[in-house]
Assembly symmetry: C2
Homo-oligomer: 278 residues x 2
């Protein structure tokens, strides 16, 4: 693992690393913010999953999360959104392949060799983080935006022993019922929709035995709201099984990081409250 950047920010350090991923079969880059409190001992850690077309830098440079993470004393890990490099198969479309890993393990050729973002996020990266960074792995939360909101919700619901808090901005709430999800799942998982269900938060919510509360912010002026994101389907699924969901419809906000930055403080507080109570 090689450190490739290091900038002081809000009294802590924004760091960037390159490493060889065994799970993905390629070199990957990720970012970590360490708050000032990390100099005195291990701190709780949040994983941020980004959306379509992003890498680790969009969140790090645009969300303004460091201010709040420094205030509450949380580390924040920001991975890339797909495997990378010349050996990794790609597609001309912007909503599948590189920059669009959908946080799943692909089973279809040619994607199954490298597109294993679920295992990378849940298994490989946390081991690396826990070994090399001053974090307390027993206090771990996950959040994300859009495709990364889908990733955060599905990963948290299936791994409640590892993640103790979850939230999302404008998540793809029911990927089996929207064009982005249908396209990606067909490509990565094949046409048998029974294999899709474990990657759909609105399906999973009825099957898991956790009541971990969900916090979701969604802008009402988001161009993708009605066709792709569909929070009403997750709301209905949560209502049906009495799963606690705080869905905040934010008037006038769109899908951008301007929206994320406006409410990132609330989300970091949501995680800090849950993790510091452990």
């Amino acid at each position: 693992m090689q450190q490739i950047a290091r900038n002081k920010v809000f009294g802590g350090w924004q760091k960037r690393y390159r490493h060889q991923s065994q799970v993905l079969g390629c070199e990957m880059v990720f970012s970590v913010f360490l708050p000032p409190q990390a100099e005195r001992g291990p701190v709780p850690v949040l994983y941020w999953l980004s959306g379509l077309t992003c890498d680790d830098q969009n969140f790090v440079t645009k969300a303004g999360a460091q201010r709040y993470a420094a205030e509450y004393g949380l580390a924040v890990v920001a991975p890339d959104t797909s495997p990378r490099g010349n050996d990794v198969p790609d597609d001309d479309a912007w909503d599948v392949a590189k920059g669009a890993g959908f946080y799943l393990n692909a089973t279809e050729a040619p994607w199954s060799q490298h597109y294993r973002m679920y295992d990378y996020i849940v298994e490989e990266l946390p081991v690396l983080i826990n070994e090399t960074q001053p974090v307390d792995a027993t206090k771990c939360g996950i959040f994300g935006h859009s495709m990364g909101g889908h990733g955060a919700l599905t990963i948290a619901l299936k791994n409640t022993e590892r993640y103790h808090s979850v939230s999302a901005f404008s998540p793809i709430c029911a990927p089996m019922q929207c064009p982005w999800g249908e396209k990606a799942f067909n490509l990565y998982l094949g046409p048998d929709q029974s294999t899709w269900q474990k990657y759909d938060a609105s399906v999973l919510i009825a099957e898991v035995d956790t009541k971990m509360p969900l916090l979701i912010d969604q802008g009402t002026a988001d161009d993708f709201l009605s066709a792709q994101l569909k929070p009403e389907l997750l709301q209905a699924a949560c209502d049906a099984c009495n799963h606690p969901l705080t869905l905040r419809m934010q008037p006038g906000y769109d899908h951008s990081y301007y929206f994320v930055s406006s409410f990132i403080g609330d989300h970091i507080k949501h995680h800090a409250d849950a993790l510091c109570a452990l």
Copy 2:
């Protein structure tokens, strides 16, 4: 003037406009943040001047200023750093020509036709802003970063009837005595150094009759500190004429927007305190 983007952020609006500049002889783009308070009446206005290689977007997306501007109720205008377009002469170097207008009026060919950023910032843009945006022009501050810190200091010192507060991050404090400034001033103003003095804050400070206090933040780990920025020369010039300067050397911080974002709240408060007391 054409609005080309509009995003809600922290309860206000980040807007982006394109217009034809008469002073620069080209089409220009600038950004304006309007805080929620602007819906109820005119608000004080800050002008942010960016550094080498930047356009209007670096500050807008990376500095995290909207949060504080919304809190204090200030508009923030972020112009580009040079004239733009295919008709504007350029240079292969990154530290002169496009992205590097140095906030002066060039007198040498071929630069003198378009490179008139001083007049654009001081004369043309404020007229446009005051006519089209809900701002109170009697409460106006200016700040900036690096080359833009030089711009903010020199412009404020020479136009105290227009600007009532000033601050800078890692400014080029004595451009006549550093490679960036010497190169740019030679190119734009020619070899006669007597014409350079009106664009050098460390020279101007002894000549102006204002005692407007200067706030400057400077990272100690800034790669450009000793060769280009030289705050010690401005400190000495201020000491010699008893001009109030608060120069804060911030340990471990570099020249990036991570640094700017860490202290932008202090700067916006500095301006808000001055402008709201008018």
